[in-house]
């Protein structure tokens, strides 16, 4: 079953603009992770944020986590055409710390 819901389902922006994707989840979590998927194949791990963290940065990526609202956001600054991909959030639940449950994904299109 899906744990997360990403919003929006699809996003189109111009190069240089910022892209913000949101993720909501249902149960308490141990950590939340973001992944990128190009061309419907393998996913690439971007960032992991733990339940006791509120914000994390990695290069042009900024992730926030609000456990009171059960939500997270992924911000990509100064986007590039190469950022075009699907982005998924995934959670490890507090009571089942073994496997990731993925959301439905946001399809990002960055136009040159």
């Amino acid at each position: 079953s899906q744990q997360g819901e990403e919003d929006p389902q699809a996003l189109s922006i111009q190069e240089g603009e910022n892209a913000t994707m949101n993720c909501s989840y249902k149960t308490s979590i141990n950590n939340l992770q973001w992944y990128r998927q190009n061309s419907g194949r393998g996913l690439v791990h971007l960032i992991l944020i733990r339940s006791n963290e509120r914000e994390k940065h990695s290069g042009r990526l900024r992730v926030t986590l609000d456990t009171s609202k059960k939500s997270s956001s992924l911000l990509i600054t100064a986007s590039r055409a190469a950022d075009t991909a699907s982005y998924f959030c995934a959670t490890v639940r507090s009571y089942n710390t073994d496997k990731l449950i993925f959301g439905t994904g946001t399809r990002l299109q960055v136009f040159p």
Partner: protein, 115 residues
């Protein structure tokens, strides 16, 4: 190896036939996961292996699906009597340990088409 390797990359099979999908995880990774992704959808968890523990099979959709992991390394996902609804991309991932500490490294997947 340097990454997670899956084979075959594409498989077309006739309805009713059995198929085997292979996953070779990163050397030393104790955790191995199988997911499937239908067209335009998110990832659906299938099964999880962690070291020598009994696998978590809670995501397998029917008894036609089974998986094994030999010697704590290579894993094979078997689908018996394939149906058209089994068509999807099957993704394997591995991690150094359980998901509460680590991100996953995914293979490129096997695209299964049942005709």
């Amino acid at each position: 190896g340097a990454g997670v390797s899956q084979s075959p990359s594409n498989k077309v099979t006739e309805k009713g036939k059995d198929v085997e999908l292979r996953c070779d995880p990163i050397s030393g990774h104790t955790a191995l996961y199988w997911y499937r992704q239908s067209l335009g959808q998110g990832l659906e968890f299938l099964i999880y292996f962690q070291g020598n523990s009994a696998p978590d099979k809670s995501g397998l959709p029917s008894d036609r699906f089974s998986a094994e992991r030999t010697g704590g390394s290579v894993s094979t996902l078997t689908i018996q009597r394939t149906q058209q609804e089994d068509s999807a991309v099957y993704l394997c991932a591995s991690s150094p340990g359980p998901g509460f500490n680590y991100g996953y490294t995914f293979g490129s997947g096997t695209r299964l088409t049942v005709v």
